[in-house]
Amino acid sequence: MTVPTSSGTAASVPALSVSGLTVRYGRAGKVPPAVDGVSFDVAPGETLGLVGESGSGKSTIGKAILGLQRPAAGRVLLHGADITRASLRQRRVAAIDLRVVFQDPYSSLNPAQTIGQTLQEPLRVLRVPKDKRWRRVADGLAAVGLPADAAGRYPAQFSGGQRQRIAIARALVCEPQVIVLDEPVSSLDLSTQAQVLNLLADLRGRHQLALLFIAHDLSVVRFLAQRVVVLYRGQVMEAGLVEDVTQRPGHPYTIALTAAAPVPQPAAQARRRAAREALGIAAAGAAPPPAAGCPFAARCPLATDVCRAERPPLVTGDDGADGTGSAVACHHSGQARGLRLPAGAA
């Protein structure tokens, strides 16, 4: 079930490795798990996109990795060391180089603390001496393109995009190697979103950061990630190189997801819309998902009895740019690749 790694990095230890991760919010048997047996690796310097709609479990995976949510099963390895059950206290030592940037730039900064206090708080925990702390705060602000005097001001004096830069700086001052980015740009305006995406691309190159980039927008993921994992109702539907998954999707759900994203060119969008309507994907919520089998079966135009009875395994195809293609969890993956949108409609 492990997603293929991007290239010859298989020998080295992944910066972050998740295997068989399962998270439940309710009682087993009553509620389907929010995350159901998800596995992936992120190599040093690599960006992995975690894509899905609401209820796909993508943010829950982020929480489980960070220790904010206890998994029911599975393992989380940081540089090969098991941190699955490490408490937040133990993580002070065990997970020093694992940091996070959250989606909402408004509630992620304490309105009663100055930017400087917010940024140096994690450094206190790391027992960085006071004089060095302020140097690193200034460096962190400079790295995200903010002036050093921002440290004396309060969050209310900054715009959404600037706050998100501050949240990124808070992660950076600890000199981390792995950052979980939970929808870092989805609450920003288009122009600001581009600024923050560029900043993340720069930082990744400069610091060899491993990024787990959680998002719902495939085009944003395509810009930043090398590989992508597509989730639906807590399960991996498709995973592989970003060009394979976004340009040659092999799972009916990924095809539905790609086809639904509107593009800003009216003529092209009209063709995409026609192609999407021709796919025959059932409306979300029209029918409940089957208790067993593929979670997408209720909406899938290709679904047959086997889809409602048996959960399809994640199998690597042979259709990709590099001859391997993405891994797809679909009983009808061969047929699904034929569903793909007409070439001109992308």
Partner: protein, 671 residues
């Protein structure tokens, strides 16, 4: 992109925006009350230094005397000075009340913080303990304690504090739990900040207002209970004065000498009232208006004069538009304009998109049309011609008749638009019966029952693509998914058979596959029923998918308008081009760029809008001439653009094909 900024992260107890601090602020009444309490405390603590007579000094010649030069507040039955005794008894009357507050908070708040932090099991244990305390009759416990231990006021009030810690715990448990859902708490925990520090630095400051309010109220209760106990004789031993005791003494002589009751009673009443007024007036600043949002008035006027002239010059040729907005200006009362000189028109049966970033005034424009502006914001100029009437000048009563019937509205949060208490069937049949006369007088004069309204409701639900209308009619909002709820909201909007539907970011809160479904639904409604739709969106893809025409807004103005094919295919205004460039979508066959073209800076606040081009500060093409007011001029066929050096159109083949459009020049590209 608008949702998070509209929801203040700390509406439970935030900090005033200007200072960014979580400190409570006082109104005038509160300041007076605080002053009274401080003076009282100081006076009673320093009483031995200034009191005119020794506490127990008896003036047997002047017993039960009224106020006089030698005894300002009179004397009691033993001739003791009342002022002296009130002051000397102040601390013993007020101090135990303070102690009760300190004890109640000292137990209740740490317990609440611990319970909120450690989750269900700890919370259950501590909540059972709190319920036990709440179930105890506190007055009986206090009297029993007096009986067992004797009259020790400080000990009694400690017991009272323990009893009061239960309600304190209950209040702060809820507060602490909601503060802990804020992301900055999670961020601190991920950063390894110790749990004590998370509570002290992040959770407690967010609760500061409630703590202040509750403390003032509990203090008042504590003082009253202390006075009550002393009145009943469970106060300090006899010669020692306390307010309750003084009132008890006064009550002995209330028929012969009623004055004695007045000074002590007044001081006690004032103290209790002051504590309550203080509790009421403790408040934090509301909202999160950015710096510079308030104060300046000239910004609203700045752009108006030139735009008016320009608009009339290029009036649309359409003889009979459904909606014709002319030079609309929306402003904060006495403050800056939020929307200035906006003009556009809509043909029947078409879809117009208002697009722009947050803070550009597109929602204000849309809400101004049916007169649904928020409190304190008003139409300050211009006209809104809808079906031959100027809505901008109509009184609220006539607007109300138009809303729902002629103009309906759906919003970003379908769940908020539906009342959680009533079934979908009830919420749909009510407006149907109101708008369509069903249920009062049928088509042919006889009364038609609810069944008819229900049949129409089911028909509307089917029309918005709900496969099982009967089941949905029986369900409640919480049983619906976001997409279903938005469909129900559209059905609700259709109950009055409106001619214009205003849709404010109708798909922003929805998943992308659900968004596609809702857009298809809106398109089929326009095609099949002749409905016109005004859609507000930040998403250029949504605009490209649904709209016939589009108006691009920047900083309260329409900077470019025209057909969707023209504006998105060959943008004239550098802002439109920059927005298109910043879109991360890459057409097939083109490589993913290493960097996205972005626009430096942010949209300026209304008070900072310049007299000239408002985009000039972020525009790579800006010249000195851009500092002068920029009129709207004709562009790409029937469209208009507000720019003195618009971009030249793209080659025809690309535009006709619409795809792939090369990335426009990148005005305002950072680095």
């Amino acid at each position: 992109m608008t949702a998070p900024s509209l929801t203040p992260p700390l509406n439970l107890a935030g900090g005033p925006p200007a200072a960014g601090r979580g400190r409570p602020r006082l109104r005038a009444g509160g300041a007076l009350s605080a002053a009274w309490l401080v003076i009282l405390l100081l006076a009673s603590l320093t009483a031995p230094l200034w009191e005119p007579y020794p506490v127990d000094d008896q003036d047997s010649l002047h017993t039960l005397a009224g106020p006089s030069g030698s005894h300002w507040l009179g004397t009691d039955e033993l001739g003791r000075d009342v002022l002296t005794r009130i002051a000397a008894g102040g601390w013993i009357s007020v101090g135990p009340g303070l102690l009760a507050v300190v004890v109640a908070f000292g137990i209740g708040i740490p317990l609440a913080l611990t319970a909120a932090e450690h989750g269900r099991w700890v919370e259950r244990g501590s909540s059972r303990f709190a319920e036990l305390l709440l179930a105890l009759p506190s007055m009986i416990i206090l009297l029993a304690f007096v009986g067992a231990v004797g009259v020790h006021m400080w000990a009694i009030m400690t017991v009272l504090g323990v009893l009061l810690s239960a309600p304190v715990y209950r209040i702060f448990l809820g507060q602490a739990q909601s503060v802990r859902t804020l992301l900055y708490v999670d961020a601190a925990r991920v950063n390894g900040v110790s749990s004590l520090r998370v509570n002290l630095r992040h959770v407690l400051p967010a609760m500061a207002t409630t703590i202040a309010v509750q403390a003032a109220q509990l203090f008042a209760i504590g003082v009253l209970i202390e006075a009550g106990l002393a009145f009943m004789g469970f106060g300090p031993k006899v010669p020692t004065p306390s307010w309750g005791g003084l009132i008890a003494d006064a009550s002995q002589n209330v028929y012969t000498d009623p004055w004695l009751m007045v000074p002590t009673g007044l001081v006690l009443a004032l103290t209790v009232i002051a504590a309550n007024v203080l509790a009421d007036s403790v408040q934090t600043g509301t909202g999160r208006a950015g710096p510079g949002q308030a104060g300046l008035g000239q910004a609203g006027r700045a752009g108006r004069a030139p735009s008016a002239a320009a608009v009339t010059a290029s009036a649309p040729p359409d003889p009979d538009p459904l909606l014709d907005v002319r030079d609309l200006t929306v402003a904060v009362a006495g403050g800056p304009g939020l929307v200035t000189g906006v003009s556009f028109s809509m043909r029947r049966g078409t879809v117009l998109g208002l697009v722009g970033e947050s803070g550009c005034g597109k929602t204000m424009t849309a809400r101004a049309l049916p007169g649904l502006l928020p409190e304190g914001v008003q139409v300050a100029g211009g006209s809104v011609w809808f079906a031959g009437r100027d809505l901008a000048g109509l009184p609220e009563k006539e607007l109300r008749a138009i809303r729902g019937r002629d103009i309906a509205m759906i919003s970003q949060e379908p769940m908020v638009a539906l009342d959680p208490v009533f079934s979908i069937g009830y919420q749909l049949t009510q407006p149907i019966r109101r708008f369509r006369g069903v249920g009062q007088h049928g088509v042919d004069g006889h009364r038609v029952g609810r069944a008819e309204a229900r049949r129409i409701a089911a028909g509307l639900l089917a029309q918005v693509g709900i496969t099982n209308p009967r089941r949905v009619l029986r369900s409640y909002p919480h049983q619906l998914s976001g997409g279903m709820a938005q469909r129900v909201c559209i059905a609700l909007a259709l109950t009055g058979s409106p001619r214009l539907l205003i849709a404010d970011e109708p798909t922003t809160a929805l998943d992308v596959t659900v968004q596609a479904e809702i857009l298809s639904l809106l398109r089929s409604l326009v095609r099949d029923t002749g409905l016109s739709v005004l859609i507000v969106s930040h998403d250029l893809g949504v605009i490209a998918d649904l709209c016939d025409d589009v108006a691009v807004m920047y900083a309260g103005q329409v900077v470019e308008s025209g057909t969707v094919a023209a504006v998105l295919g060959q943008p004239s205004h550098p802002y439109t081009a920059a927005l298109l460039g910043a879109n991360p979508h890459v057409s097939e066959g083109l490589p993913v760029p290493g960097r996205l073209p972005s626009i430096p800076g942010t949209v300026p606040a209304p008070a900072d809008w310049p007299a000239g081009c408002r985009f000039a500060g972020r525009c790579a093409l800006a010249t000195a001439a851009c500092a002068d007011p920029v009129p709207a001029t004709r562009a790409h066929g029937g469209g208009r653009v507000r720019c003195i050096h618009p971009l030249s159109p793209w080659p025809e083949p690309n535009q006709a094909d619409g795809l792939p459009v090369p990335r426009p020049v990148e005005p305002g590209v950072t680095s």
